[in-house]
């Protein structure tokens, strides 16, 4: 079972910093791309395949669904495949769902070849994606606050 340890290093000390983990949360570098099945179709039709988008993913056990930044989804030319009801403090809204592939470069965590992700406004938060329980259900996650690191296995 692949295991990855993450944390945020203090640039001055070179050590994992619990305060930075508290401030920013469990972040890891991810890549969002066109699903393989769609990439193969585009290749067969001699159409260009949009390059993957890289950025930060936040592991969020409070999120019932994974959200990916809408700007990234537009860059990937992905079409909406469904809509869901989202509950928020102001009430509820319908929001679009997009099929994408999520990879974890620099780790041995296997690619998620198909993720039905919510199109979300995350760019302003400095995030590419929020990885919710629909993804996390397949992993073990341990958050070590005092140690300033977290571990994901699966």
């Amino acid at each position: 079972m692949p295991v990855f340890n993450g944390g945020i290093t203090n640039q001055q000390t070179g050590l994992l910093d619990p305060k930075l983990l508290q401030q920013r949360g469990p972040l890891l570098q991810i890549e969002v791309s066109v699903p393989d099945v769609l990439a193969n179709k585009l290749y067969q039709e001699k159409k260009p395949i949009p390059p993957p988008v890289t950025g930060l993913g936040l592991l969020d056990t409070g999120a019932s669904i994974t959200g990916v930044d809408v700007n990234a989804l537009q860059q990937l030319s992905l079409s909406m495949i469904n809509e869901v009801t989202m509950n928020h403090p102001g009430g509820e809204d319908k929001q679009g769902i997009y099929a994408c592939q999520i990879s974890f470069p620099g780790t041995q965590i296997e690619d998620i070849e198909f993720s039905a992700a919510l199109g979300s406004n995350l760019k302003g938060q400095g995030l590419l994606a929020i990885l919710g329980r629909d993804v996390l259900k397949d992993y073990q996650l341990v958050y070590n606050g005092p140690g300033g690191f977290w571990t994901i296995a699966g």
Partner: protein, 86 residues
């Protein structure tokens, strides 16, 4: 085309045929294009793959056939808690 217009026809058609689908394809994933049910599948990814195979980059709907569609929440986003500090 506005976000709300994409899949409008497909979503309306799904609502029209939902009761019938619940009898025969409960919990499966319906693949719908326009006002045509293109098939139902055991897994979300299977329905999506079938949709891509037939329609490529055109929009199509993949929706689970259940009595009550689940609602979702990302409280940290909705409550502006990401990067909040005090």
């Amino acid at each position: 085309m506005e976000q709300t217009d994409i899949l409008k026809a497909e979503l309306e058609y799904f609502d029209e045929i939902k009761d019938e689908l619940l009898k025969t394809n409960n919990e499966q994933y319906a693949l719908i294009k326009g006002r045509n049910l293109e098939g139902s599948f055991t897994m979300y990814s299977e329905a999506y793959e079938a949709g891509v195979a037939k329609f490529g980059t055109e929009s199509f709907l993949v929706k689970q056939i259940v009595e009550q569609q689940p609602s979702h929440q990302i409280p940290a986003l909705g409550n502006c808690l990401i990067n909040a500090s005090f």
